[in-house]
């Protein structure tokens, strides 16, 4: 059974210019022990999707659909029940480690919070656990470091502290939103190694959100490509890198520095009133007449690989 199953998820913001469909009819499953990578360029709705899972979006967002976590629909849960799941069963690691840590509390205090909240530990016991967590994410002299404030940490250490906080209660699902953003390449590699190891140890499932395909290649079992609020392709990691099905995925891969760094022409469409046909069609080299008028369904390319493209009709 899949640990998380998202069906027909839609998240909309009401703005003065109209309704922005940041997430539009998205469905996917994450199995136990599986890591799914959600990739796409900036502004395609990845982060909104991540935030809708734990219902962390602001009140002016309308979210509909089904998000089943172990058979329970998170969108229907009472706020109190959801609070018990947040941080304990599903943890979220945020993209900006400096602004995601409270500047006025020590790092140790913040890591001990989930222990007190979800495991009912007293402050001192939780502090000891927090130091253990810092040690696990390989922060040198964790005991002293726990007493320091976030601004006294380097970027990589802050991200590791965030990871420690996320993993504190041994969650079964981790949502990591751009876990390596803003870190330089050597630190990125360390963080990736760390995440890899920790997932292997804990056996947790993971949803990684990134625009960095090399990161996805390192960590993921499956990939979902998001574009303009929709999933355009869904594939196993091997298939995706060997033979991407959707023209957009192809372009996306070719834009990698290692594969020629070819830019994709044009810009992604506005999320308010997107074009009626395929959303990628204005930028697509394979576009036909029907692409402009009919919106494609997600079609099966082969076992485990799906693409939202008329080429596979």
């Amino acid at each position: 059974m899949s640990i998380l199953s998202v069906e027909h998820l839609e998240s909309q913001f009401v703005t003065e210019d109209g309704i922005v469909k940041a997430v539009d009819d998205v469905s996917f499953d994450i199995e136990e022990n599986e890591t799914l990578g959600l990739v796409g360029e900036s502004g395609c709705g990845k982060t909104v999707l991540a935030l809708s899972i734990l219902r962390l979006l602001s009140e002016n967002t309308k979210t509909s659909g089904i998000i089943k976590y172990r058979g329970r629909d998170l969108l229907q849960l009472e706020e109190d029940d959801l609070m018990a799941i947040r941080g304990k069963e599903i943890a979220q690691i945020f993209q900006n480690p400096l602004s995601s840590l409270n500047p006025v509390l020590t790092v140790g205090f913040q890591i001990s919070e989930p222990f007190m909240r979800h495991q009912g530990l007293k402050r001192n016991a939780a502090k000891i656990k927090a130091v253990e967590m810092l040690e696990r994410v390989r922060i040198p002299s964790p005991e002293e470091r726990a007493k320091e404030y976030p601004h006294e940490f380097s970027g990589g250490m802050r991200q590791r502290a965030m990871i420690a906080m996320g993993l504190a209660c041994k969650p079964s699902l981790i949502i990591a939103d751009e876990p390596t953003r803003g870190l330089d390449v050597t630190i990125q590699a360390q963080v990736v190694e760390l995440i890899k190891e920790l997932i292997k140890d804990s056996g947790a499932s993971m949803l990684i959100i990134t625009h960095d395909l090399s990161l996805a290649a390192e960590l993921c079992d499956k990939i979902a490509v998001m574009y303009s609020g929709e999933i355009l392709e869904y594939a196993g990691i091997q298939d995706f890198f060997r033979k991407p099905a959707h023209p957009y995925s192809e372009c996306f891969l070719e834009s990698l520095p290692a594969r020629g760094m070819k830019p994709i022409r044009g810009i992604s469409p506005s999320l308010i009133n997107p074009p009626p046909g395929c959303r990628f069609c204005p930028r697509c080299d394979h576009a036909r007449d029907e692409c402009k008028t009919t919106h494609p369904r997600l079609m099966k390319v082969k076992d485990g690989q799906y693409a939202r493209c008329h080429l596979y009709a």
């Binding site: 734990l54 947040r86 941080g87 602004s99 989930p114 979800h118």
Partner: protein
């Protein structure tokens, strides 16, 4: 968070340091009033009345022959106790209201803020007069009357800070960790909006002292024989031409203490203003 850097910044400000020294001296005076005041404040000695300053009575005596210096010293205690009480009440209440309004926004926020707008539109001293007129004069009623207006500013400042803090990623992070709203307000929002509140507290201590003295002067604050600067000022006004020391010394004390708190407040604001930290 206040750090050593802020402290150094504060200590570099001469006016602020002078203010701090004055306040420290006044606080020590208030605490040790029983030991340092040369005479009993209530001891009437009609033979000694209206004596100008001398070695025996450095600030002279009043119309009942009471020693003005002793009354000033005990007046320090009265004034500081009352103003601290007011600031404590107003900041606690105002900050709670402000955080709730800013955190939940929506209709609660709208109602509270409009109420504050209405109250702010009233001249505060007149509002205080009305309240005292209704509930009667007295020390505790003075505190209540001034507090009723004082919390408005805290609520506004706290709400403004909360509005920006609630959008911060660490608040989102705390929610993702399963923290409740109350916990977030207390451990995440409150400490982060403290710096402007602390500045406001010091600055408002000055104006609260002034309000207490004003009410005392109008005969609505501390009632005789309680020694209080504003009341003393009022008592002295009858003899202003012949015995100015009765009014001059309490007036000076009011001025010095208000000035000192304003110096400290300005110094604190300069020291912990985040905009200035960015420029450096």
């Amino acid at each position: 968070m206040l750090k050593t850097r802020n402290l150094n910044e504060f200590l570099k400000n001469k006016a602020a340091v002078i203010g701090l020294i004055i306040i420290l001296v006044l606080v020590i005076t208030a605490v040790l009033a029983d030991y340092i005041s040369p005479y009993d404040t209530d001891k009437v000695a009609l033979k000694e009345k209206l004596k100008p300053p001398s070695w025996q009575h450095p600030m002279g005596t009043d119309q009942l022959g009471r020693d003005v210096l002793s009354r000033i010293i005990y007046g320090t205690r009265t004034t500081f106790e009352l103003s601290l009480l007011v600031v404590l009440f107003t900041s606690t209440f105002g900050v709670s209201i402000g955080i709730v309004a800013g955190y939940y926004r929506g209709i609660v926020d709208e109602i509270l803020m409009r109420l504050i707008d209405v109250l702010l539109a009233f001249p505060s001293i007149i509002l205080a007069l009305v309240i005292i007129g209704a509930i009667g004069p007295g020390v505790f009623n003075t505190v209540m009357a001034i507090s009723l207006v004082g919390w408005l500013f805290y609520a506004r400042v706290a709400r403004a800070s909360t509005l920006s803090i609630r959008e911060k990623e660490y608040v989102e992070g705390a929610r993702a960790m399963g923290c409740s709203d109350a916990y977030i307000c207390f451990f995440y929002v409150l400490p982060n909006c403290l710096p402007p509140i602390i500045v406001l507290m010091t600055l408002s201590l000055g104006s609260v002292i002034l309000s207490i003295a004003s009410l005392g002067y109008l005969g609505l604050g501390a009632q005789p024989p309680t020694p209080e600067w504003g009341t003393m000022l009022n008592d002295g006004k009858e003899y202003l031409r012949d015995c100015p020391w009765l009014s001059v010394f309490p007036g000076l004390m009011i001025m010095i203490s208000v000035l000192a708190f304003n110096f400290i407040g300005d110094g604190l604001r300069d020291a912990i203003d985040p905009r200035q930290l960015v420029i450096k």
